[in-house]
């Protein structure tokens, strides 16, 4: 068994203890904060009470089971993650440094519960992070800190060394589980003797103390297996050939320029930044998926009462995400500035509104029963998207030959026209009053009524209304997942590469055989398609639609989402959508509420401002805020906050990579260096 690993990095097993201390402390801090300071313990206790003593439980059985599943997934993932991290760490990065980082990040839940508002808490955490990173960079600069040099050489890992990795993973999982179990036991005993813990739960506390280390052992093993998969393995078998191909892999890495090599080396085990390796990302993804799926159940534990309103807010943020992802195709991938994106959203909203309400009878004379109409939502979701895509093509075909900025003007004009058309075509759209009574989607078994043997199932249905946003939550989550999947596939497909080629250099792309018109048209159509989906969802959720909800300001907000997050970066755009939603709907509104409260600090500032500017409210300066954000992002961080790696390289290629020395690159001055740099 032979695989590649950097020789200077790998250390004998004597360092295992140091690694264990490093990672166990690092991960215990956030876990203990979550469990004992925030809500973890409350969830566990409620679940256990629900299962062990149903009479005294505050949760319904179903909720107990679901929350229990989440808690299991959560702790199991953390245990396996510990195993993975201990095995995957190269030990080159300082322990204290990591601990400080983790401590700062563990502040988030504390800030979330300490401040009154969820949004204010998040804003405070972001502030803490910004200050922290700023101070850290200043200190590093002052002390002449140099980032770790990339690994110097690659050698072949023996089976023994692999075995050593595995041992570390096992030890990591086991000791993490054991220490956490011990801490929990002590805390539980304190609670028990002060009379706050029911007797039933003491059994659990003891069982946990035994079970956790065992679970840790096996889950650590799982983490180790995942880590070993990322050891640059040469091939199967331990024969001479595999060692040969291992060398080949090494040569491949050497050929890559420094940035690419650094990105590729993220997956190497051992690794300088195991928290950012793609192996660790699997664990994050598991956690995130579990969190999103179980969120409606967890929300009351995490943030207290008011779940319904919060969920409704998140579902609204959800269609922002879809819109941002759609616009990202046009602006981010293909590099065409579309300032009238709201038009497609409006078309999507109206398409479903006309079909899904009594307006259908007015327009076409066909009368549908509400039940049938609401079933139509599912096929209409696709039809709506296709209609929007059609309009994307209709707008795109004549205008795509225009140069970038003029294209922006024409799309802007289109965005202005579409609401006017909907306003004035009142025969079909009911004009300024908009369309009300738009059906929500149907998901029920009512049609089984009367079917012999199955009519008992007919009562099962999902309640869709604004007061019970949970179905909408899952609907939008499913839609977002679909859209993200489609986006990823599109980005990596032939057409996605063609888009990026056009963005980089239109003439070069055309010379390489990219059909400019068709490719751009497809970008427009794809962007419009997703916005059509968002539109149909929005109309169904709101139950109404009116022409004044689609203005140029909205188009700019969608653009801001793409720009803030990072043009062309899918995760960036998602974060950008949430950030913009938070600023737009929550922070400005919350600031206004705080400012009108005479006891608040903000109140005096607010009064001072209103004396200078009479009509001032925070909601009033929405456009100003977004304008300032757009300018600031463009000047200080044009690649956005979570840039795609390709985009970052584009924007910083000379400064960051050009002359960096690394073993994986060619040394400056050596023959071939010029070509090497130019590859970027």
């Amino acid at each position: 068994m032979a695989s590649l690993v950097s020789s200077r990095v790998f250390r004998p097993a004597g360092d295992t203890r140091q690694l264990l201390i490093k990672w166990i402390v690092a991960l215990l801090v956030p876990l203990v904060v979550f469990t004992f300071v925030w809500s973890g313990e409350a969830i566990v206790n409620n679940v256990l009470l629900g299962l062990l003593a149903p009479a005294s439980a505050s949760l319904t059985p179903a909720t107990s089971v679901l929350a229990g599943i989440f808690i299991l997934i959560f702790y199991a993932t953390i245990l396996a993650l510990t195993g993975y991290l201990v095995a995957a760490d190269s030990g080159r990065r300082g322990t204290v440094e990591l601990w400080i980082d983790i401590l700062v990040f563990a502040l988030v839940p504390l800030l979330l519960i300490m401040t009154t508002g969820l949004v204010i808490g998040l804003a405070a955490s972001v502030l803490v992070w910004v200050v922290f990173f700023y101070v850290r960079n200043r200190i590093r600069k002052a002390r002449g800190y140099k980032p770790l040099r990339p690994t110097e050489a690659l050698t072949v890992v023996t089976a023994e060394q692999k075995e050593a990795f595995m041992q570390r993973a096992l030890a990591g999982g086991f000791w993490f589980g054991a220490i956490f179990a011990l801490i929990s036991l002590v805390v539980d005993l304190i609670f028990y003797f002060s009379g706050q813990l029911p007797d039933v739960l003491l059994i659990w506390a003891i069982a946990r103390t035994i079970l956790l280390p065992i679970a840790g052992y096996f889950l650590g093993r799982l983490g180790g297996v995942i880590a070993l998969r990322h050891v640059l393995s040469a091939a199967n078998g331990a024969n001479e050939e595999s060692a040969e191909s291992g060398i080949e892999k090494k040569k491949q890495l050497e050929v890559l320029s420094s940035t690419r090599a650094r990105e590729e080396a993220k997956d190497l085990v051992p690794n300088d930044l195991p928290l950012r390796s793609s192996g660790a990302q699997r664990f994050y993804l598991t956690l995130l998926t579990a969190f999103i799926l179980f969120y409606p159940i967890l929300d009351p534990f995490l943030f207290g009462s008011g779940t319904g309103g919060r969920l409704a807010g998140y579902t609204d943020a959800g269609y922002y995400v879809i819109l941002a992802l759609g616009l990202n195709i046009v602006v981010g991938f293909a590099g065409l500035l579309d300032l009238g994106y709201v038009a497609f959203f409006a078309i999507g909203s109206y398409t479903w509104s006309i079909v899904g309400s009594t307006q259908l009878a007015t327009v076409t004379g066909i009368t549908l029963s509400p039940a049938a109409a609401s079933w139509l939502f599912w096929p209409m979701l696709l039809v709506t998207a296709l209609v929007a895509a059609l309009f994307g093509v209709l707008l795109g075909a004549p205008t795509l030959r225009l140069r970038g900025d003029y294209l922006a003007i024409v799309t802007l004009g289109f965005g202005e026209i579409v609401p006017v058309v909907f306003l004035e075509l009142d025969k079909y759209t009911n004009g300024a009053n908009g369309i009300v009574g738009v059906q929500s989607p149907a998901l029920n078994l009512d049609f089984l009524r009367g079917v012999p043997g199955l009519s008992g199932l007919a009562g099962l249905h999902v309640e869709w209304s604004n007061f019970t946003p949970i179905p909408y939550y899952y609907l939008i989550v499913a839609l977002i997942v679909l859209v993200i999947f489609a986006n990823l596939r599109l980005r990596d497909s032939r057409i996605g590469r063609a888009w990026i080629a056009i963005r980089e250099d239109e003439i070069a792309a055309a010379s390489s055989g990219v059909n400019l018109v068709n490719t751009k048209l497809f970008a427009f159509a794809a962007g419009a398609f997703f916005s059509g989906i968002a539109g149909a969802y929005h109309a169904a959720k709101l139950g109404q639609v009116s022409p004044d909800a689609f203005s140029f300001g909205d188009s700019v907000i969608y653009l801001a989402m793409v720009v803030i997050g990072g043009i062309g970066s899918i995760p960036g755009v998602i974060v950008g959508a949430f950030a913009v939603y938070a600023i737009n709907q929550l922070i400005l509104a919350q600031l206004d509420t705080l400012a009108s409260d005479p006891n608040n600090v903000l109140h005096s500032i607010f009064v001072a401002i209103t004396q200078v500017v009479p009509g001032f409210t925070f909601g009033n300066i929405r456009n100003l805020v977004f304008g300032a954000i757009l300018v600031a992002v463009m000047i200080f961080r044009p690649e956005g906050f979570l840039p795609s790696s390709r985009r970052r390289r584009e924007l910083h290629h000379t400064a960051a990579d050009g002359v960096e020395v690394s073993s994986l690159d060619v040394v400056p001055g050596a023959p071939g260096f010029e070509e090497e740099v130019r590859v970027e």
Partner: protein
């Protein structure tokens, strides 16, 4: 002009125009002129010139500040970056206008006497004549400046080839600043004249005017001054004729549809002449 030199659509231009009209109002109010009573004789000339100059100066300073803050750092960035930054500036100015003078129409002091002259069957008011005179004067001054002064020559050089101009000893940054200075001053003057003619102004004016102006530029032919003027005239005519469309063709008649009609015609023209009416299909430089 700004476009010719920096190759950037200045979305904020319309908003500088709007701010200009607001500055003129505020300055007139500071002079104690608020009512609708027209002034006469020497006072009128004095007030007009002072207001116009102050407006132009302040707008010019605003233009230079915008250039310094929002555009200069992005001079070598990809095309999309300054464009997005320009949209941001436009939004900021629009909201500043909104906070400053509210969301409703602001009435402009009618300082110029309204006299209507009849020439045959055509009625023409004194304000119209003023508008035409001021426009001609400013255009002549601009033409003289660009074609006959040293700075004007430097501007043309920068517009033609920035790098070559820099090699010839032209301070490109300074020239671009001056361009923004003049462009914004002209926008300020236009804002003042607009206020005189229409008697009111509103915060969203800049956006509407800017949209129409850029549409005219696309319609007439990109980068073609005659084409832009033709586009402007055409849009005016389309707008006027669109109101004549009867109810039977479009619901509620043509008036609310005029923007839609303009854009429909624009898109139709672009299908057949992708570079606008008078534009030439220029091969792109590699």
């Amino acid at each position: 002009m700004v476009y010719g030199i920096v190759e950037l659509i200045n979305f904020a231009h319309g908003d500088i125009f709007m701010i200009g009209s607001l500055i003129a109002i505020v300055f007139l109010n500071m002079l104690g002129i608020t009512g609708a009573a027209p002034l006469g004789g020497f006072t009128l000339v004095w007030v007009m010139i002072a207001t116009c100059l102050i407006t132009m100066l302040l707008c010019a300073v605003l233009g230079v500040v915008i250039e310094r803050v929002a555009y200069r750092p992005l001079r070598n960035a990809p095309r999309l970056a300054p464009l997005i930054s320009a949209i941001g500036v436009s939004l900021i100015l629009e909201d500043v206008g909104k906070l400053w003078k509210g969301v409703t129409n602001v009435s402009f002091p009618q300082i110029f006497p309204q006299i209507t002259y009849n020439i045959g069957s055509v009625n023409i008011s004194s304000v119209n004549i003023l508008v035409i005179v001021v426009t001609i004067v400013l255009m002549a001054a601009l033409h003289w400046f660009v074609s006959s002064t040293r700075i004007g020559r430097a501007m043309r050089a920068v517009a033609q080839d920035r790098d070559a101009a820099a090699l010839m000893g032209v301070n490109v940054d300074r020239i671009i600043s001056i361009t923004f200075f003049i462009g914004a001053a002209l926008a300020g003057a236009a804002g003042f004249i607009y206020g005189l003619q229409y008697g009111s102004t509103i915060f969203s004016l800049g956006f509407q005017i800017g949209l129409i102006a850029f549409t005219a530029a696309v319609l007439g032919g990109i980068g073609n001054i005659v084409g832009a003027m033709l586009g402007g005239v055409l849009i005016g005519l389309i707008e006027a004729f669109a109101t004549l469309i009867p109810d039977t063709v479009l619901p509620h008649g043509g008036a609310p549809w005029h923007n839609a009609v303009i854009f429909a015609i624009l898109i139709l023209i672009l299908i057949f002449r992708p570079s606008g009416l008078l534009g030439q299909q220029t091969p792109e430089k590699v």
